[in-house]
Symmetry: C2
């Protein structure tokens, strides 16, 4: 049990993974809400939409036609934020040292992929079974492998990983460069900027190591050095298993917790219990257990407010290329950042104070976890 008093007083909690603090004001949900209401997620979508650029057999923006795929299908984003080919650019020494100090810039190349999660236009991770989620995990694993540096300590492991012969449909040319990092993520729901409800995620690879994984990698390496080789997140999983009060779900290989330092109201972190550096470290059984935990988290989310629960979700794991220390300090985990706070239509806004000063949350992570624990079982939509 955490100190009961933390349900009543304002306090700050520390996020050791980012090295940052957040403000918790548990009494604050009592205030009335007269602000913006979200539209509840549509549940009356067709199974196939002729206008959708992700449905099997349909045409995409640049004229390509999607195959009649069965499960997952991957292609290079038609409106990619980073590309492999662009004009060369080496920042020139600018006029005077002031500009060099204050107007710093570097070019970025990379690739952006889209990965569909199902051929059905109207299904989500919450609707499908763990067995149907498995092909997505296979696809992530094979794409990660295809971009892994041959000199990574993970390359050997990756080459001995056996996946089903075709772990996804769609193909892509071999990357033309060795990229540093791969970010796999999903934006779900209009409230999280998703512009097409067809279930899909994205995968961006870049020449640089982006801010968030860099922050985490710095903290993970520091912990490892200070704690004689221990992994922060393995230690954390052990601690949470012993405490139980922030646990949402666990199976033999994974646990889903509302972390001690959660920012979003119902934020969840999925953690591997044993030390796993990246997707390629998992065996068949573990991939099955990962599918189960993804299914449990997303189904509980939808059940919580009986709605299509919006979120951004992302995988953090070892960089594609890095020092041995970086690879070994990495630990596979998934963040779920969902905005809803009180109901299907009232979200938490991380705005003024949060942007200018410090993230602030209104319910405690322990309260959030207790509610999500109680939301297991069948998907509410199936019971209607």
């Amino acid at each position: 049990m955490p100190d009961e008093i933390l349900n009543d007083i304002s306090h700050r909690r520390y996020n050791p993974l980012r090295g940052s603090w957040l403000l918790v004001s548990p009494h604050r949900t009592k205030r009335p809400w007269q602000g913006q209401q979200e539209a509840p997620g549509k549940t009356t979508l067709p199974n196939y939409d002729p206008e959708c650029y992700l449905c099997p057999g349909n045409k995409r923006a640049q004229g390509d036609t999607n195959p009649e795929y069965e499960n997952t299908f991957i292609f290079v984003n038609d409106y990619a934020a980073v590309k492999e080919e662009q004009a060369d650019y080496a920042p020139t020494e600018q006029d005077g040292s002031l500009a060099n100090r204050l107007l710093r810039v570097e070019p970025v190349t990379g690739r952006c992929y889209v990965l569909t999660f199902s051929k059905a236009h109207n299904l989500t991770l919450a609707d499908i079974t763990p067995v149907e989620i498995l092909p997505i995990i296979h696809a992530w694993t094979s794409i990660y492998t295809a971009h892994l540096s041959p000199s990574s300590p993970l390359a050997h492991t990756a080459s001995s990983t056996t996946l089903p012969p075709s772990s996804h449909e769609g193909s892509f040319a071999a990357p033309t460069a060795q990229y540093r990092y791969m970010q796999i993520f999903e934006n779900k729901g209009a409230a999280m900027g998703c512009s097409n409800p067809h279930p899909h995620g994205q995968i961006w690879v870049t020449t640089g190591l982006p801010e968030e994984p860099e922050l985490e990698l710095t903290q993970l390496q520091k912990y490892r050095r200070q704690q004689g080789g221990a992994n922060m997140l393995v230690d954390y999983a052990e601690l949470e298993m012993a405490k139980g009060e922030r646990t949402v779900f666990e199976n033999a290989a994974f646990m889903a917790v509302c972390p001690w330092w959660a920012t979003w109201p119902f934020e969840v972190m999925v953690l591997s219990k044993e030390h796993k550096r990246a997707l390629v470290d998992f065996n068949d059984e573990e991939r099955g257990l990962l599918a189960e935990v993804l299914s449990e988290v997303t189904r509980r989310y939808d059940n919580l407010f009986e709605t299509q629960f919006p979120y951004s979700m992302g995988l953090h794991q070892a960089p594609l290329e890095g020092t041995r220390e970086e690879i070994e300090a990495s630990h596979f985990h998934i963040h779920f950042y969902p905005p809803l706070l009180r109901s299907a239509t009232v979200r938490k806004f991380l705005v003024g104070y949060e942007l200018m000063a410090e993230p602030q949350r209104d319910i405690t992570p322990e309260q959030a976890a207790a509610r999500l624990r109680a939301c297991g079982g069948e998907l509410y939509r199936k019971k209607l």
Copy 2:
């Protein structure tokens, strides 16, 4: 002129004020938008709303009645995120060192104020004149002064600052503790979590120095040490005045720029050109010029898409209590973070990649500044 090529290629820019990077993908606005649309801001509000808890003469949630105030009115938030009185809490050594390392917590006390900007329910900073904005600046200055540590190097300056006799209506008991930091901010518009359109801002004071000002203070102090006492933001203002391409507006004392490292599409930073540590460093004339720049920025925002432009805005300045080095390294500035990207109804979502990896923007700050420069003149609503 910046390298023209930066309009065409993906690149990262460095934010020296936070010590962080962001991804710029200038070609990306070409993608079609089928996602969420914002409701355009209502413009048909009454001048007085009997249901509004901020209008003069109305009753508030806890039963207090607002005075018949003329300009600005301040009170302690009825649903405050931090309070002066709460049960004492000293985190106990938890069971084992793991918990001490990974479940860190500290209590926070403080005060949250609400400050109305006008007695009229339906006006915004963009609607009123600089002369009408001045009382808000007076109120901010007097509240900052009331919370300043008597041992701050700023205390002497503050005591010689002369403001109009009553710089705001409403009163509050003297703070019961010396707080470390004051965050002044405004959330405007439903898209930025504002729950009442009556023009108002908030002021939160806390025992701790929050994350964002702490990051900035660290960077500002580092720069000062490395550059023989120079101030990063004074140097930056000088550089931007010389370049011009990111300038939105300037007068004798202030400039408004879309910073080189802007994250939000039309992000603006208002900077004092000379080194000013906090509000109390300004004289009468400078306060007038600050009112002018606030008016210019908010009016241009509304003119850009002919809408009530939503944003979060916040002041960064010296902490209420700090070391001499912290106070001297501080430099007064204001951040405006507005979400709209393409029109009154299409915003930028900082979601999946942005939350998991790194902020990403679609137009360059130079393009944003050029558009805001061209939006001066009378408020579009007055011309209808």
